[in-house]
Symmetry: C2
Subunit: 303 residues, 2 copies
């Protein structure tokens, strides 16, 4: 396997690399910023790419935020960005449900295990949902709930999909309700299945861990709509209709971002060393996931 | 592999079988009763075994009830039983922690994901615990909780064990707290890892599904103290000091009860056909788990 090209400081190499692509898919955390810390020259790099006529898509597995929420983060960070350039796993799930899955009405409602970001994106694609932030489910399960779930009287007969994401208000009642829909034949989707959520300089349970109770009870994995699942690539393509051979994935994680680009048969992948993985993780013999090129920080693309 | 002996109606065969054993370990649900329905002649059968001088142990994976809670169920069902004859997965965990694991104080406290049955059993063995039914954790996670968990200020520095069981009040705050203890090196135990809880003529998330979020986030399975884990057999032996060759496991489920007895190298196993498995599941060639004998209903042991 050929070794990836190191682009930092290689002005000619950078332009040659950029010229290969019309579209850049960007991971955000670890590439543009880390938490609330913006990396140097990111805004200028983004402007430079726009100046060269590149289409940019910001791809994130964060399911709690809608695209509108996420744009606010870009605004706060001072990075120019349109809502339509943001592609989160919640929106990915909404696009997949509305444009690819297209279940016939009326049995096409979605039971949501997740926060308002998911609800907003489902609504933006005209998808009906129950659960989610419904306060009626934010309580302890009571003895009468078991019977009402078992006989279906507390269930919506039109639910045909269970969509599991990051829910900071997960509880037994929500898990039992989701499990009941799955046992009645609902399709099992997840915004993403990240096991952990990096925050406050530590790791917390991620969307995959919140939904793990449904997976264990039901005995089957959901189709995930976040990186590295190719269902997300299909959803991105379903919206942007890009030429994969002229598209490059930029990210810091080999097993999500770079693998996502390679499996999606994109023209290129660019690893940035400001996040999870270091160059030792992909340089040398026998490495599982190897990017086409790498760079110390995104701002190095300015040359 | 030899085929199991069918004991129903075989008076001589029954007595020959009973004479082999001094101790009988009984699964409860599916053997003695199904939910609130007592099977015929169960109380008389239990009395008959006692009359023959047999030691009886009632073994259950139900982690929400203490032995005292469980004895109330026996009383209600009219089955004579002593608290000391009940061995639930919560008690199993308490015995394992107190008599086998024996972590040195002070870092030997248990963080409980579960209900009061677990707390009662830990207390009965003199084990200190946090979490569990603590009302301070029965609420939504707040932004300041992330920092307090990350820097450890909301954690108990003496927690050395995380014990995961069936918690009807599970929430994100509890999962995040348990995950933090695991990341700090706590030993990961589970009362049991049953994926589902049969109730109200339906299936609900079981202890294994409640704890699945911890497993997914942490990336490692807990040591389970319920059937078919041999850690439970060790805990039973730790209390009763029985002769395994003179002990018989009686149960309705092949992959928990019967496997539990076979792996524990007990002298015998007896399948009862009033629960999950049917005789077709173990008769014939190439079956994975085969009991020594089987019987239609427990009451048939009266002959």
């Amino acid at each position: 396997m050929s070794q990836p090209r190191y682009l930092t400081g290689d002005k000619a190499g950078i332009q040659e690399f950029l010229d290969k692509f019309d579209v850049f898919l960007f991971d955000c955390d670890g590439v543009l910023w880390s938490g609330d810390h913006l990396f140097p020259n990111v805004a200028e790099t983004i402007e430079m790419l726009r100046g060269q006529g590149k289409q940019l898509v910001f791809v994130t597995n964060n399911s709690t935020k809608s695209r509108a929420d996420y744009k606010k983060k870009f605004d706060k960070m001072g990075i120019p960005c349109e809502v339509d350039e943001v592609f989160g796993s919640s929106y990915s799930a909404a696009v997949y449900i509305a444009r690819i899955l297209k279940l016939p009405a009326p049995k096409n409602k979605v039971y949501v295990l997740g926060e308002s970001g998911i609800e907003q994106e489902l609504a933006s694609e005209g998808v009906q949902y129950v659960g989610g932030t419904d306060l009626a489910l934010r309580r302890a399960i009571e003895p009468e709930d078991f019977a009402a779930i078992a006989d279906g009287s507390s269930l919506d007969p039109d639910v045909g999909i269970v969509l599991s994401g990051l829910d900071f208000h997960v509880n037994y009642l929500k898990l039992a309700t989701g499990f009941a829909y799955l046992q009645r034949g609902a399709i099992f989707l997840a915004t993403n299945t990240d096991s952990t959520l990096p925050t406050a300089h530590s790791l917390f349970p991620g969307a995959g861990s919140v939904g793990a109770g449904l997976v264990k009870a039901f005995g089957k994995e959901p189709l995930a709509l976040g990186k590295p699942s190719q269902a997300m690539m299909d959803a991105i393509e379903g919206k942007f209709h890009f030429d994969r051979s002229k598209t490059c994935m930029v990210g810091d994680r080999l097993n999500t971002d770079i693998q996502f680009g390679i499996e999606g048969k994109l023209g290129g992948t660019l690893a940035v060393l400001t996040g999870v993985n270091k160059k030792e993780d992909f340089l040398g013999e026998g490495k599982a996931v190897v990017p086409m090129a790498y760079i110390d920080t995104l701002g190095d693309l300015l040359g």
